[in-house]
Amino acid sequence: MRVVAMIMAGGEGTRLSVLSEKRAKPSVPFAGKFRIIDFTLSNCVNSGIFDVAVLTQYRPHSLNDHIGIGKPWDLDRARGGVRLLQPYQGRNDESWYRGTSDAIYQNLNFIKERRADLVLILSGDHIYKMDYNTIIATHRRFNADLTVGVMEVPLEQTDRFGIMTTDEQDRIIEFTEKPKNRDKGNLASMGIYVFNAEALIRRLSEGSENKPRIDFGKNVIPAMVAEDRVYAHRFTGYWVDVGTIQSYWETSMALLDPNLDFDLYDPNWVIRTRSEERPPAKIGPQARVTSAIICNGCTVRGTVERSVLSPGVYISPGAIVRESVVMNDTWVGPGAVLDRVIVDKQVVVGAGAHLGVGDDLTVPNKLQPDKLNTGITVVGKSAHIPPGISIGRNVVINADRDAEDFAGREVPSGETI
């Protein structure tokens, strides 16, 4: 039985604000040294699936760099291995990927060439550990055309997910995208699908103007529920969609909880990533570090509490980093304070600058009130924060901002620079 995994990694991820402005969401750094897509890629190879395609579209440069020829995942193979599938031009047609299933449709030749029996459709922006052999086993046991990975969510959150209603045999009898009334049960789709290749090709090829086949959730699955054997596979482990600033921050903080049911250190399910060669983390004589993840290449000479530091971060003496996520090679100057801040790569935080000032976390960002309203301040890649400045909550500092972009010594909560 041949299994091909197709990882959807083209989405824009607008809700991650400046973090996904210059890179696709799957290549946003997470948990220190990883990228979000590492979890799905590692799940594939840890499940013995070495035939993997990554479908890219939005800002793929960082993702392409990260995946390369797939070496960290042992996906640099003579047969199979990883393929990056970008939108392409054809003789008679050309088109960006218009949605998840349209992206697969435009690459049906890949599936045919690999002579796949089963196609595993995955999302590149979820954090979880899953042995895909379990969902494949469910698929085969039910002799299904399509099996959807589902998990129970609290009933009050069902309006955020695609909700599956099943019969006693776990056959899906109804699919409702983000139901307003909470009456469809609480089995949420995880965006993980196992298709019989033949059924997938048939269903995607029958699309037309009035019967579009653009999105799995909107078009393909509802149609298949009516006509094909569609089953649910229940997953009970840890799974999060880090698609918003709030969930990205919460999930990062949750990693610091020793009781979290998500072990990054499990030698039997290693999460692999492309590591740069860096020396060990250096904790200086005056440093105080508690409840933190610190990566190779970091130097900590100040105080770090409940924070996640990616490789190469430098925390100067007297600096305080609290409940923050700091990405690669950022420099935090002497006496600077970060409180509930997500700082992208290569940022310079000037000496004595205070980020996350003020007790009122509820003043939303004026330009993105729906995305930034919980007190988290976000700093874009390569921004330079001038020394001594005071920056409030829910502030967005865009990428590459320099000292002259800041007027005055204070940036009130909710502002955007």
Partner: protein, 413 residues
Amino acid sequence: MLRTLALILAGGDSPALSVLTAERTEAAVPFGGKYRIIDFTLSNCVNSGLYNVGVLTQYRPRSLHAHLGVGRPWDLDRAQGGLRILHPSPTPDGGGWQRGTADAVRYNLDLIEDQPYDAVLILAGDHIYKMDYRPLLQLHEEREADVTLAVRSVSPHDTHRFGIVTVGGDGRVDRFDEKPRRAVSNLASMGIYVFRRDFLIELLRSDDGYDFGRHLLPKTVSRARAYAYNFQGYWADVGTVQAYYEANLALLAETPALDLYDPEWVIHTTSADRPGVELSATARVENSLLSDGCRVYGTVSSSVLSPGVYVSPGATVRGSIIMGDAWIGPDAVVDHCIIDEYARVGAGAVVGEGEATTPNQAAPDRLNTGLTLIGARARIPEGVTIGRNVAIMPRTPENAFPKGKIVATGSTL
């Protein structure tokens, strides 16, 4: 630039490193947390643009083989050239072991002859240093030398440990004394030699001496075009337990002499995929190096931790080197120790306790500075107290420890 073959000598048994080299050659001993000693020489090669590298092994090479693999971290997995691991092969009469540095190179003369090299760079696999070999090779080429030795100044008290060279005004070496009692110079050979290829072939064919420093070079320098290249940078021979310990802990300085953070001269190594270091709410860490995959719940100070070390709640690690995946149990105390890979220190054990003046009885010349060594995969039972200058051999099981739960200072298990 000269077409150069680099040969790294990594076959020595280095008995002075005690339990650290009981099961592996010195080149494969961990250093600075995540590195192995040979990483420095190998990285120097590729950072200098040398991609034809042979590693000569003999003593306990398995750990080194596992580390080198196909040379991937150093970009030495190449279609042309790349990494070659050169191991002795037995002769029909049971011989074939290499008896010294020159002998080891002599066994591989065919490799040197068969390829169109101009020069052969002989390197040691057990030195810690960052060096661009290109200026050395350039000097060798400009002077049309037969052999060029890299040298550095050492303290007059240390001249008896090195090959000492005397250099004339034009940089030409006119004398080489191996480990002299009374030295006339303090320029020490670093064990780094560039030979003109044809000169090396002829030298090794015409003279059957085993060792470059002891047998060949003293005779050769006066009759050949021998030059010295003066190297000024950091260089450490970590061939003793104390030197090894000091070189590791020197990395904790605010600005260490050996800069591992230089993006222009990256030291490459084989890294296992591990998440970042986890420091718990109960962790207290100061003045230490921690490698990816470490998990700290206790107290760590002035120490160097390799990847995957686990320090349990209540445990204390002070002034120690802890190698990969070692486990320090709850409330254990580790003080001035070197703990090798996968060793387990049971709950409440105290390792490195009491006075430091009694040397190790079995090896008083090697273990006498108060450091206690725990070999790889040794299992220290709960509640045991171990003194200083103690050597616990690799794989020592719990039942090998005395019933009284005390291992006195200076003992060996």
